[in-house]
Chain length 385, copies 2
C-alpha cells in the first residue's frame, strides 16, 4: 500500500487492499428444495473472495451478512480486516481467505424476489418462496463444495449473519472449526410482532400492488416506514435519548407550532422532532439500496430462525455442534435481548459443546456490531475465544 | 342495588349504579385561542358527571382520560369507583362527585377533527389545529367555571390523562388539592419516534387522501397498523413473551410453511405468529371506535407535553404547584419509563412541592393502569398518599 499509518487511519472505508480477489456467481445445479416445502430452480449465489485459499484450503473464513448486507464484506464490515496502521482487525488476508456470500432472497446478486422465475418467465415478486436460515446455509455448503472447501476455519456473522454461523455448526458439524455468532437468538414475541408490522407497512403502500409493483415505482414510502421502524429496533432508547432527546428537527421545524401534520408522505414536513426527522431520513435512504419484496422475504426468514425446531430437544440440536462457539450479546439490544442469547449459550453448553457467552457493553443496541466495531473486535480478541 | 356482594362481583363492567347523573355538552363562548398559535371557534366539551356536587362544591374529582377514552369514566375505568361487594374502589359516589370530560381533538363528543369547522362549513379533518395539554386543561377550567366548581378535590389520570392532572397543578395551583398522575413524563426520543411512525402509517393508507377521507371509507388499514404499533408500546416484551412467545397464530396458521406473505392488507393471512395475529386483531378492532384524524391530533398533543416548556426552569414551573402530588411509574412501561417519572418526581420535590413517587410492579407495560386496576388501587390506597 505504501501508506504511512497516520495516513492509512484516514483511508476510505474500503482501501484498495480490501478489494475482493474474486467476485462472481455460482449456480446451484437443478432444483433446490426448501425447508418450508417450496423449491428454487437453479438459484444463483453471488459471492466474493478476499485473499486466497491456501493449498490445504483450510484458511477460509465465512463472513455472513445481515439483512441488508451483501457478499462484499469489506464494504459493510471493513474493520474486521487487519489493515495497515489500524489496530484491532480480526481477519488477516496474508493468511486468511474471507468468503462473503449474498443470501438467497436478497437483492445483491443472488436469487431473490427480484429475479426471474424460470417456471413463469416473470419476476418472482410475492411468489418468492419462504426460506429458512437452514436453506441459506445449505446453499452456501454447495458453493463451498464447488470451491473445494471442505471445512471453514471460522463462520462469523451478526444478526441474520449470526443465525447462519450458528446453523452452520448444527447442520454441518464436521465442516466448521469455530463459530462466532453476534446478537442473535430465536426472535422473541416483541421482535416477531415488530417485524410483522414492518411487513404490513410495505403492504400498505398504495404502490405495493400485492407485490407486483413496477421496478420503476416501488412502494418507497412503505419500505421507508418499515425501515424506520426497524431502525428503532436496531438502536436503543438510551442512544436515541442521548442523540435526540426532545430536540426539534435539526432543519428548523417546530413541533410545538402550527396545525400542519408531520407526514413526509403528504409533503407537509412541519413540526417534527429530531428523532422523527432522523427516522424518516433513514427510511428514505434505504430505498436507494433495497427492494421491498426482498425485505419481506428476509424478515420472514429471520422470524423462522430456531436451530432447535425439528429436533426433539435443544440437547439433540446443539449437541451436533463440533465447533467452538462464541455467542455475543449486546447490552442494549432489545430486538435480540442479551438475556435470550445468554440462555441459548447455556443450552449449547449444556449439550456438551464448547460454548462461551460474551457481552458487548454498548448503548448502540442491535446495531452495535456495525456502529462500534472496535469494541466488538476487542471483545473478540480476548484470549481463549 | 339490592345485589348481594357475591352477585355484584359478577356484575357487568358498568353496573347501573355507575350510570352518569348527567351527560351533556358545554360550549366555550367565543374564540378559544391555542398555545401553538391556532384557535378553535366556540368548541364543545362533552362531559359526564357521576354522583353529585355537594353544596360547597368541594367534592369534585376530575378523572381525565387517555388517548382513546371518553367522558364516560365508568366505562373505561370502572374499578376506580367504590362498588358494593367489590373491594378497593377509590372514588365513592356517596361522597365524591366524579367529572369526566372528553378532550378536545377526540371523537367522543367534544370538538375534534371530525367536527364541522364553523369558519369553512366543512369538517376540520387535517386542518384541525395542534393542541397542547395546556389547551385541554384550560378548556376544562372553563367548564368548571360554568359548573361553579372552584377547586378540585383530586385530579387523576393515566397516560394523557395523567399529563392533564399534572398540568392542572401547574396552570391552576389554587384550584386543585391533590394530583395523581400515572405513567407519564415528557415523552422520550424513542416514544416520540414511535408515535411519529404511527402517524406515518395512517398517512400511508391509500384511503388517507391527505386527511380528507370520506367518513364511509376511512383509512382503516393505516389506523389499524398505527394502533398495532401503539399496542407494542403499551405492553411489554415480557408480557408478549409470556402470552405469545414463538407460538403460531391460534387460528392455525403456520409461520414455517408456504410462500404466502402475512399481510392482512392483501387478505393473505398465512403464516403469522400468534403475536402478529394478536396485533392485527387489536388494530382492526380499534377502527370501530376511533377516528384516524383524532388519532393524529391526540398523539401530537401527547408529544408536546412538557410542563416546563415556556418556564425558565423546572423549579419555576413545578414550584407553582400547591397540590400534593403522587406520580406513579409502571415497572415494565417502556413508552414512559419509570426512571423518567421518578426523575420528574425528584424535580417536582426539588421545587418545594409535596410530591411522592410510587412504582407499580407489573409486566403489563404502560397499559397496566387499565389491565391491573386492583394493583393500581392498592398502590393508591397506601396511607399518606
Amino acid at each position: 500500500m505504501g501508506l504511512q499509518p497516520e495516513t492509512a487511519a484516514c483511508a476510505p472505508e474500503t482501501p484498495i487492499s480490501l478489494a475482493p480477489t474474486f467476485e462472481g456467481d455460482f449456480v446451484i445445479d437443478g432444483i433446490f428444495p426448501l425447508e418450508a416445502g417450496g423449491a428454487l430452480p437453479a438459484p444463483t449465489l453471488h459471492y466474493a473472495v478476499y485473499g486466497k485459499p491456501n493449498a490445504a484450503r483450510d484458511n477460509v473464513v465465512l463472513v455472513s451478512h445481515a439483512l441488508s448486507g451483501s457478499a462484499l464484506v469489506a464494504e459493510w464490515w471493513p474493520r474486521l480486516f487487519v489493515q495497515p496502521g489500524i489496530l484491532g482487525g480480526l481477519l488477516d488476508l496474508e493468511t486468511d481467505c474471507v468468503l462473503g456470500i449474498n443470501i438467497l432472497g436478497s437483492c445483491y446478486g443472488s436469487t431473490g424476489p427480484g429475479s426471474v422465475n424460470p417456471a413463469t418467465g416473470r419476476l418472482y415478486g410475492p411468489d418468492f418462496p419462504l426460506l429458512g436460515i437452514r436453506d441459506i446455509v445449505r446453499s452456501q455448503a454447495l458453493l463451498l463444495d464447488s470451491l473445494g472447501i471442505r471445512r471453514l476455519k471460522l463462520a462469523i456473522g451478526a444478526s441474520i449473519g449470526g443465525m447462519q454461523a450458528l446453523e452452520w455448526g448444527v447442520l454441518y458439524p464436521e465442516r466448521v472449526e469455530r463459530i462466532v455468532s453476534i446478537g442473535v437468538a430465536p426472535l422473541g414475541a416483541m421482535g416477531l410482532g415488530l417485524n410483522h408490522l414492518q411487513r404490513r407497512a410495505i403492504e400498505l403502500d398504495p404502490l405495493w400492488n400485492g407485490g407486483r409493483y413496477s421496478p420503476d415505482s416501488p412502494p418507497r414510502q412503505g419500505l421507508s416506514l418499515a425501515r424506520a421502524l426497524a431502525v428503532c429496533t436496531y438502536k436503543s432508547a438510551g442512544l436515541f435519548e442521548e442523540r435526540f432527546a426532545r430536540k426539534p428537527d435539526r432543519s428548523g421545524e417546530d413541533p410545538f407550532a402550527g396545525s400542519r401534520n408531520d407526514s413526509v408522505a403528504t409533503g407537509l414536513n412541519g413540526g417534527r422532532f429530531d428523532v422523527a426527522g432522523y427516522l424518516d431520513h433513514q427510511g428514505e435512504r434505504f430505498n436507494s439500496r433495497f427492494d421491498a419484496n426482498s425485505y419481506l422475504a428476509i424478515t420472514r426468514t429471520m422470524d423462522t430462525f430456531d436451530p432447535v425446531r425439528g429436533y426433539t430437544s435443544a440437547t439433540e440440536a446443539y449437541g451436533r455442534i463440533q465447533a467452538a462457539v462464541t455467542l455475543i450479546g449486546i447490552s442494549s439490544d432489545w430486538l435480540f435481548p442479551p438475556a435470550d442469547i445468554r440462555a441459548m449459550a447455556a443450552q449449547i453448553s449444556a449439550a456438551g459443546v464448547r460454548c462461551e457467552y460474551r457481552e458487548m457493553q454498548s448503548s448502540h443496541g442491535h446495531d452495535a456490531f456495525l456502529a462500534e466495531p472496535d469494541a466488538l473486535l476487542r471483545l473478540l480478541q480476548i484470549p481463549d475465544l
